[in-house]
């Protein structure tokens, strides 16, 4: 489903080039759950951003369900994110002015993929039933992250990308949130790539890959 070949990315820092990714190769099958680990600055988040089309690669290819992501225009990449990718961030990135209910349906609505039955199921599974009218600032970190996961999965994406989704949560809450995510990923059958620092959490997924010095170790 996801095929990455020889992916490279270089940034400039204080006028010096920093080679963040130096030829990354990675494959992900449909429904497979993969943890991506690595030390700080190893390029985990950069890899995730390139897969999501949030940034452009300098070299190599990313193919998602036959679509060559690296060749897409900005609008094309936006369409890909909207329709086939779900994104979860460490900082939740909810829309503060929308209620929980509106945040949940937001991406599905703009993608034209709103499914009322799935929405209802998501609310139930995520335990957000009593929180729909609240605003993000009125929720705890764990609750906010559950809303973010719900929003990302509301479109039933082909691939869920999560960048340290439990980084701001305590251990118990992190376990709960990840268990929920695994459950929902299994329910939708989408691929799941999660960046994490926690080897413990990484061990709960199907596969664990480590990024070191810009390459998959």
């Amino acid at each position: 489903m996801l095929s990455i070949r020889n992916l490279s990315k270089t940034f400039s820092s204080a006028g010096e080039p920093v080679h963040v990714l130096r030829g990354v190769d990675l494959d992900l099958k449909a429904g497979e759950r993969v943890a991506l680990t690595g030390e700080s600055g190893s390029g985990k988040s950069t890899l995730l951003h390139l897969i999501a089309g949030l940034d452009a690669a300098d070299g190599g290819t990313i193919r998602l369900e036959g679509t060559e992501v690296t060749k897409l225009s900005d609008a094309g990449r936006a369409g890909l994110r909207r329709d086939r990718i779900g994104l979860v961030f460490q900082q939740y990135n909810l829309i503060p002015s929308l209620s929980v209910g509106d945040n949940l349906v937001f991406q599905a609505r703009i993608a034209g993929r709103y499914d009322a039955a799935w929405y209802k199921e998501l609310i139930e599974r995520l335990g957000l039933g009593g929180l729909l009218k609240r605003y993000p600032e009125q929720l705890s970190g764990g609750q906010q992250q559950r809303v973010a996961i719900g929003r990302a999965l509301a479109t039933k994406p082909s691939l869920l990308l999560a960048d340290e989704p439990t980084g701001n949560l305590d251990e118990a809450t992190a376990e709960d949130v990840l268990a929920l995510t695994r459950d929902l990923v299994t329910r939708t059958g989408c691929g799941f790539l999660m960046v994490t620092h926690s080897l413990h959490l990484a061990a709960t997924l199907d596969r664990h890959v480590n990024l070191h010095a810009g390459r998959i170790a």
Binding site: H49, A75, A78, P96, S97, F106, R109
Partner: protein, 820 residues
């Protein structure tokens, strides 16, 4: 489409959670549109009135034939020209008194009236016969009918006792004009077979040369694109427009501040939208659509407010225009569709301009860049040096204009450059003051006070610029008006030499009154005056007959005079000239002015220049006996009396009883003076109102800036609260900071305002009105204005401060929670 609507809904949801910010944005747009549109409505109304005046049966918009030296010419010339195929139509013009009020009488010949006489009101075929056939009709504007206190169909007499034909309202007619058939006009004005001018229509074929038909008895005058009235009133409308523009920009400052902060707060939202798959183009398009929609709503509300502002100001504007230029503007507002469209347009354009920086940032925003709250404020600092350099360049332009500019536009250019330069340099000026404060601060809290004020400066600078401009305009205009007021009162004391003024309805009554007065012991002197009208070098000029009396010699407000000027005046071949006419004709003491009189050209040596403030017409003052010799038709109805103060009430009562004179026909000096001052005050009422509006909008700008800054200030204030400074004390410190920068701004506004006043007095007034006032500074007034500005700042700062003082500790704790 659905996608766009969802993105729009998300963007709009921000406002639901930030109601004050939303209100700020709308208030800015509404204030900008309302004041701009209000002023435009007034200008449009006035321009329409000028068009009507110009087109009143052939004003300056139609080619015409006039006599080169005399005010009227024989009717037979009209007959000769018609026979020669010239499409001409006769007009006779004069003034008559109806119910004690002087109005312009226009006699026309409707059958030959050219069809292309500008946009003159048309007489339908049905009305034509009733207009021409006895008893005829007197066409009049509704406003004039009200002024004359008459009803439609009434036939009031003029001062000679002859009755006017029945009055009929013609709505399009300019106020203060009566239109009758030319035969009637000749009878009413006692000018049988005389014509003032011939209007020239479009010829069908080639015309015989004018000189071959009438010799040199007539000359052709081509129409002006701009009438004399328009030229005269340009400065007034420019002044109004400048006020409107200033308020518009101050309004846009508010919008800029609100949009800038909203953009910064919505940055994470925009990035999330992009992360969720909304393309950059879609998000940017929706941002623009959102702004245009808001501008549309605010524009409509602003237009409604603008309409009410214009309607409220119009009577005063009409009074100003009548007082300053003699222009007649209807007091009721009528607006064209273009005004509404232009208002909406200006609201949308203003919103887009004010939000341009934010929109450009949104377009260029990389989806992955981390949010940098308040970065837009911080970046303003980089502009500080650039802004100061730009200010220096603008000041240089002001200096060049001052040195080399000759026109009224150049005068306004100097003003605009001064204000723009001062606004641009203000942040650097304040930064310098605060830096000095910081250098000398010793106690930690004082150090923080100055350092934090500097940090806050970038967020407040636009509002402070607005305050600076509004206050400088207030200082400038108030100083000018106060100077004018004091000069005017001094001048009035000189001009109103007599103790009692009488205006007789006709010459016979004038003679009777004079004879009666001669018999009375309480009258020390009878001073007869007179007025006639003439054209000098194409300018309408009033000839004022002065009696030869010691009182006039003592008091007449001469600015410049030749030796023995009053003695030279007596024989009748010398005149004083009013200051504005001397500038218009470029005539100095010692020059000669030729006045076309009924008996031929009257040559007058100019032996003095006098102040004649507030008179739209140019004036020549001559000996009254000489005036009557040259202009035998001069009404001898004006009489001034020297009477001991204690005898005045008794004399007036006796005059009223003896000659059935009403209060308008006989008045003592104090009454006339009070009436003149009342008119003067009303003339500048509109200026005061616009001053107040501008200062009000600047206050709102400051309030909105402080409110929008209030939330972003929490991270700076929370640590101080955490180390033990109470919330009320924090609020007091914040208030002191705001008032300090407002005070520094106000202190800079004072010299700037005085400079503005000097420009108005020494450049703009001279170009616009033709007179120059002495420059005075009124310290008490300046102190008052600074106090008003500080009070406005205090009001603006109060709400955010109360909020801070009452803020729940939980809100302050959140700052630390968010930092984790």
């Amino acid at each position: 489409m659905r996608r766009a609507l969802w993105v729009l809904a998300v963007l709009l949801s921000h406002w639901r959670r930030h109601k004050m910010q939303f209100a700020t944005l709308l208030i800015g747009l509404i204030a900008a549109t309302a004041l701009w549109s209000g002023v435009q409505a007034i200008n449009q109304q006035a321009r329409n009135a000028y068009d009507r005046a110009a087109a009143t049966f052939g004003g300056a918009r139609t080619p015409m034939l006039v006599a080169p030296d005399t005010a009227t010419f024989p009717q037979e010339l009209f007959v000769k020209l018609r026979r020669a195929g010239w499409p001409v139509s006769p007009v006779l013009e004069g003034r008559v008194q109806v119910n004690g009020r002087s109005v312009r009488l226009l006699g026309i010949e409707p059958v030959t009236l050219p069809v292309d006489v500008g946009n003159a009101p048309r007489l339908g075929a049905a009305d034509l016969s009733s207009f021409v056939a006895p008893p005829g009709q007197t066409l009049v504007a509704r406003e004039t009918l009200t002024d004359l206190q008459e009803q439609e169909g009434a036939a009031p007499p003029i001062s000679s006792g002859v009755k006017l034909p029945p009055l009929r309202v013609l709505p399009q007619l300019v106020p203060d004009v009566l239109v009758v058939d030319i035969g009637v006009a000749q009878r009413l004005l006692n000018k049988p077979d005389q014509i003032s001018r011939l209007l020239v229509g479009k010829p069908n074929g080639k015309l015989a040369p004018l000189a071959r038909v009438v010799g040199d008895q007539l000359q052709r005058v081509e129409p002006n694109a701009e009438t004399e009235l328009e030229r005269l009133t340009d400065s007034f409308h420019l002044n109004l427009t400048a006020f409107g523009l200033l308020s518009f920009f101050v309004g846009l400052f508010i919008v800029n501040s609100a949009v800038g902060l909203a953009f910064e707060q919505r940055l994470p939202m925009l990035r999330t939208l992009r992360a969720c798959g909304a393309s950059a183009r879609l998000v940017n398009t929706v941002l623009v659509v959102e702004l245009v929609a808001l501008a549309l709503v605010a524009g409509l509300i602003g237009l409604a407010c603008g309409y009410f502002i214009a309607a409220a100001l119009l009577p005063d504007v009409a009074a100003s225009l009548r007082g300053l230029y003699g222009a007649q503007i209807p007091g009721q507002l009528t607006l064209q569709p273009e005004w509404w469209l232009a208002g909406i347009g200006i609201s949308i354009a203003g919103a887009l301009v004010a939000a341009a920086t934010s929109l450009i940032k949104a377009v260029r925003m990389p989806v992955l860049a981390t949010a940098q709250p308040r970065a837009w404020q911080q970046r303003q600092r980089r502009w500080l040096i650039l802004q100061s350099l730009a200010a220096c360049a603008v000041f240089a332009v002001a200096l060049l204009l001052l040195q080399y500019g000759q026109s009224l536009i150049a005068g306004f250019g100097v003003l605009a450059a001064l204000m723009l330069g001062a606004a641009l340099i203000l942040p650097a000026f304040l930064e310098l003051i605060l830096l000095v404060g910081q250098r000398f601060a010793r106690r930690p809290l004082a150090l923080w006070f100055w350092a934090d004020s500097r940090q806050q400066l970038s967020g407040l600078s636009l509002a402070l610029m607005a305050l600076l401009l509004a206050l400088a305009v207030n200082v400038g205009v108030s100083t000018m008006v106060e100077t004018f007021s004091r000069t005017f009162i001094g001048w009035l004391n000189g001009r109103l030499a007599a103790d009692v003024y009488i205006s007789a309805s006709d010459n016979a009554k004038g003679v009777a009154i004079r004879n009666w007065l001669k018999e009375r012991g309480d009258v020390q002197a009878i001073l007869s005056g007179g007025r006639a009208e003439a054209q000098v070098r194409g300018q309408p000029v009033e000839l004022l007959g002065l009696p030869d009396h010691a009182l006039y010699r003592e008091r007449w407000p001469l600015l410049e005079a030749a030796p023995r000027a009053w003695t030279q005046l007596v024989p009748g071949n010398a005149a004083f000239i009013s200051e504005q006419l001397s500038r218009r004709l470029n005539v100095r003491v010692g020059d000669v002015v030729e006045v076309p009189a009924p008996g031929g050209t009257w040559e007058l040596d100019i032996v003095g220049i006098y102040a004649d403030y507030g008179n739209p017409k140019g004036q020549l003052a001559v000996n009254v006996a000489a005036l009557i010799r040259q202009f035998p038709q001069t009404p001898q109805t004006r009489i001034g009396l020297i009477v001991a103060k204690e005898n005045i009430p008794g004399l007036i009562a006796a005059l009223q009883k003896q000659f059935a004179l009403d209060d308008r026909s006989v008045a003592d000096q104090a009454t006339v003076k009070a009436e003149s001052i009342r008119i003067f005050n009303r003339t500048f009422a509109v200026t005061s109102a616009l001053n107040a509006f501008t200062l009000g909008v600047a206050g709102i700008a400051l309030l909105t800036s402080l409110l929008t800054l209030a939330n972003s200030r929490l991270p700076q204030l929370a640590p101080l609260w955490a180390i033990g400074i109470t919330r009320p004390r924090l609020a007091a410190i914040e208030l002191t900071k705001t008032l300090s920068v407002a005070l520094f701004t106000s202190l800079l506004a004072v010299p700037l305002g005085l400079l503005v006043a000097w420009c108005l007095i020494a450049i703009v007034n001279v170009k616009a009105f033709g007179w120059r006032l002495p420059f005075h500074v009124f310290p008490l007034q300046l102190v008052e204005l600074v106090a008003v500005a500080l009070f406005a700042s205090l009001l603006a700062a109060l709400l955010p401060m109360i909020r801070l003082a009452r803020m729940q500790p939980a809100s302050l704790v959140k700052v630390f929670a968010n930092e984790r």
